[in-house]
């Protein structure tokens, strides 16, 4: 594995220019160009926020920022995996003609998606500042949105990158031989979206009726490294604040209504960063990177000879 890595290092200039090519081509023929990668999450988060606040009556303050903070790492993961499934096949004519370390192809895709992810986080910061200045919370009290938890952001970014890159290497190699893989990946990613705390809070899982009788449920939920990461980004970037986990109901399960006949939000204190699950996700992401790199190197010479 070390020899392979040395060879990759020798070709680092090619990797950089592949990333550059990737970034250049993606929006070359579109009018808004690079802005698309920033507009896309903004529009999605705005829509989700409208749905939750106005339709599903979720009254968590500054909900948009919380959705944003979890949606960005998920979107990075998703785009990385979807791009990687095609990265070898789209360039099969190139690798049939000329030698270079084949892992450069999925790596370049992962890096260019990672750059978009970093830009997305900058947009989130801009969003937080705009909210701080123009939309003060209840009673006009402005709360400075950044706190010390942000220092672990580099660690979380590293985890996201190695998780996504490891899976990218595995998927790009597998899809070269079995093209069913990309459809399976697309379906799994779609389902995974619901199993990650993006449209809801992980506290919601913890305080759920099912978890109160089956406490393994919350633990199992957080063993999913992507779910754990989404939660960790939220805790690192945003202030812990009470989250709405449902509506107030009496002992028999009927909703308690206020004077206007509206349900009363049931707020619970946020759970702090759970380092246990971050550590598990960390080990998982490093392991998947090493496994992915190893498997890819074992298979890469057979790409050009695929039946």
């Amino acid at each position: 594995m070390l020899a392979e890595f040395k060879e990759l290092w020798r070709f680092r200039e090619l990797l950089f220019s592949m990333v550059q090519r990737d970034l250049k081509i993606r929006y070359k023929n579109s009018f808004l160009g690079f802005l698309w990668s920033l507009l896309n999450p903004l529009i999605t988060v705005a829509t989700m926020t409208v749905v939750f606040q106005l339709i599903l009556d979720n009254h968590t303050p500054n909900l948009g920022a919380y959705i944003f903070a979890a949606y960005l790492p998920y979107m990075f993961f998703q785009l990385c995996l979807l791009d990687s499934s095609q990265s070898i096949l789209l360039n099969i004519q190139l690798i049939k003609k000329i030698y270079f370390p084949r892992e450069i192809l999925p790596l370049a895709g992962a890096i260019s998606n990672f750059i978009h992810f970093l830009l997305g986080i900058l947009v989130l910061f801009a969003f937080l500042i705009v909210v701080y200045i123009f939309f003060p919370g209840a009673g006009g009290v402005r709360v400075w949105p950044f706190h010390s938890g942000i220092v672990i952001l580099p660690l979380l970014l590293f985890m996201s990158f190695s998780l996504a890159t490891g899976f990218s290497l595995l998927i790009s190699a597998a899809n070269t031989f079995y093209e069913d893989v990309k459809y399976i990946v697309a379906v799994l990613l779609y389902l995974m979206f619901f199993l990650c705390p993006i449209m809801y809070f992980s506290e919601k899982v913890y305080y759920s009726l099912f978890n109160s009788t089956h406490p393994w449920f919350y633990r199992l939920y957080n063993l999913n490294p992507i779910a754990a990461l989404c939660t960790a980004y939220r805790k690192a970037l945003l202030d812990p604040q009470p989250v709405q986990v449902g509506n107030l109901s009496d002992a028999s399960g009927h909703l308690v209504l206020d004077a206007k006949g509206q349900p009363i939000p049931l707020m619970k204190d946020a759970i702090g960063m759970d380092w246990k699950y971050v550590a598990i996700a960390f080990l998982f992401s490093v392991a998947i990177l090493l496994i992915g790199y190893h498997v890819f190197n074992r298979l890469k010479w057979r790409f050009v000879e695929r039946p």
């Binding site: 200039e13 220019s17 250049k24 070359k28 004519q93 049939k96 003609k97 270079f100 010479w301 039946p307």
Partner: protein
Amino acid sequence: MEVRGKAVSDPTIEIRDLRKQFRLSHTGSIKTALLWWRKRQIEHLEVLRGIDLEVRPGECVAVIGRNGAGKSTMLSLLARVYRPTSGSVIVHGRIAPLLELGAGFHPDLTGIENIFFNGIILGLTRQEIRKRMDEIVAFSELEHHIDAPVRTYSSGMLARLGFSIAMHVDADVLLVDEVLAVGDFEFERKCFAKIDKFKADGGTILFVSHEMPDVRRVATRCVWLSKGVIREEGSPETIIPLYEAGDLAPGVAP
């Protein structure tokens, strides 16, 4: 005598008992792979069956033979696109493969951007490419189109750009697969002149061609491949008549 810091007698290309098998398995989908992984039948096709060849600096070796003789496979093995099944291929120095013109071009990038990208794949740094840029553009005669995306290029223009890049990367070994007859007459003449200069400077060329006049024109040695082995080897004057006669003789398997 030394050329480019190497003694002339040292071969730049050393091929020893080179064999290459391809798997012709029919396990194309996950379903068949899962259902039949125990009983799967993998057919092997042995394309190269023991090749030994040495090529020295300043030599230009033409590989001839019928379709399916293993010529392109041999060039791909030299370009490190394939891994040998057994035996070894050693190439000393930088290889510039011209296996298919324009293979590494991206249609949406401009000519300039593609020169950078291609040059980097071939092992140059940005700095070195910048230094050679004017020369590459001038040789390809694409001054007026170099800032346009290459999807707007004709096949002749792509061929000129690809050839021009490959000739300007200071390669020690040039691998050419039937791509010489690409430009117009004038450009072809320029290409041959460039190839002659490359040879004179101690470069090594291995090329595959079906055009016997081209072989006579540039090759110093001729290798006739047939069914994965070298059938005859020698000067073009002696091999080409044999090849043409053997190829046409009725009832004789080539």
